[in-house]
Symmetry: C2
Subunit: 267 residues, 2 copies
């Protein structure tokens, strides 16, 4: 994968993910909690931005969090320890080659991971092997094609498209959110239920203007400036105009919309 | 206005609006009800698709429904009479020249109207003159820029864009939903609160596949076929492919998303 855009590897990105996690915790995670004693796999924990929330919401579950990056796993471990949780175990592991047996887990949790995978449906299928019959999988992903705003701006749409294109070239899919239902279906899960979580931001919600439009979404798009220009996808001045127009949506008469998708399926 | 695309004037369109109204009643209207004795203006009632719901939810309010089309007002009157409601009065009138005094109403309700107006913010400002201080305005509009789907399709997006372009040429704005907050702000309303109502459809929700994706949204886009082709916006075969691709999203692995915006402001 192209490290230039991948989330979670440098300090600024790390801080951004923390901002994102705080602003979105209620919207994305408040309805996810697991029973006492249940064995939960967090597949793709990254630097632990969601792990702390997951652990806090399910204080008596037994959580195992894995990531393909050893550095991320170490970072996630520190974060969870700092929060005082002792019911999370960590391992460095590839989703396609997990060191767990069949039916090892009662529940699986996958958040902001499929967007980075070249074969997301295959990953969901593989994960199912480690889930007991009747166990659930919960998947959360964004979708950059769900972003629209006022005032509308072609340049802003092009700047967003740079992130989509770079992620595509790295084998991922920044518009994966809308496809959770068909992916879970093709992976063989049943009773699939998708609930979109739309983030709507106008100046009557100043904490979301700061926490989401500026510090999460626009910061993420700004983060691909060098890669986008270097790869010839866009001219620097076009990209800059796009970023200015994204910030324009945070003024008193601006509006910004984005949707995350949360899906649950049963084995 | 270009009658070829305007909603509510022929039998088929009328039926479509009824389907749309039934499927969306809960999502859009269940939280709108007015106190006994309150004077409510429905500005732009069309053929009454929403009037019956409005009247049913507020059985003791005094509702006045107006539309610029006398034929539509007559149709709305029949519909409300057939439903057995006697607390709705009708008048043929232009929003910009209403036959009511200042502060004549406690509440104003505007649904699927601003999208057709060349000066929507001015209409909201004019309506405010007829609202008592402390009274509310409720506005509901769609936004065609909020439509996205799986599988994604350039042709389908182009077919949707035909409707957007025709509505623009007729002086309207099919993407007005996202702009409710700034429009109410510029019209001088306070305490504005916008709540998006996203319609998410996958094959696990068959009533929405039929009621929304097929019979409401795709039927509406199909309805502009002749106008779009005649005006040279699109080639017939491209348009047909776009319609096929919209129907493709109603298959078992398809997904369709659309968002309505509901806003409330206070004078």
């Amino acid at each position: 994968m192209n490290k230039a855009y991948v989330h979670g590897y440098d300090y600024r990105e790390n801080m951004r993910l923390q901002d994102q996690a705080s602003t979105l915790v209620e919207l994305l995670h408040s309805d996810t909690f697991y029973p006492a004693g249940s064995r939960v796999l967090e597949a793709g924990c990254g630097v632990g931005a969601q792990t702390v929330t997951l652990a806090g919401n399910s204080p008596d579950a037994l959580i195992t969090s894995v990531d393909i990056s050893g550095a991320s796993v170490a970072e996630a471990g520190k974060k969870v320890a700092a929060a005082g949780f002792a019911h999370v175990q960590f391992a460095q592991a590839d989703i396609f080659n997990l060191p767990f047996g069949p039916d090892a887990f009662d529940h699986i949790f996958v958040c902001f991971v499929l967007e980075h995978l070249a074969r997301p449906a295959a990953a969901l299928h593989t994960l199912k092997n480690h889930l007991r019959p009747g166990g659930t999988i919960t998947v959360i992903e964004g979708d950059h094609g769900s972003a629209y705003f006022h005032p509308d701006s072609r340049a802003a749409r092009q700047a967003i498209q740079c992130q989509v294109e770079l992620q595509r070239r790295a084998g991922g899919n920044a518009m994966v959110g809308r496809a959770l239902y068909p992916m879970l279906l093709s992976a063989g899960y049943g009773a699939i239920r998708v609930s979109p979580r739309m983030v709507y931001v106008d100046s009557g919600r100043p904490e979301m203007v700061e926490g989401f439009t500026k510090k999460t979404f626009t910061a993420m798009i700004e983060g691909v400036r060098e890669s986008a220009v270097a790869s010839g996808i866009i001219e620097p001045q076009e990209f800059e105009k796009g970023i200015r127009d994204l910030y324009r949506t945070t003024e008193p008469d601006g509006v910004f919309c984005y949707t995350f998708f949360k899906a649950i399926g049963i084995k």
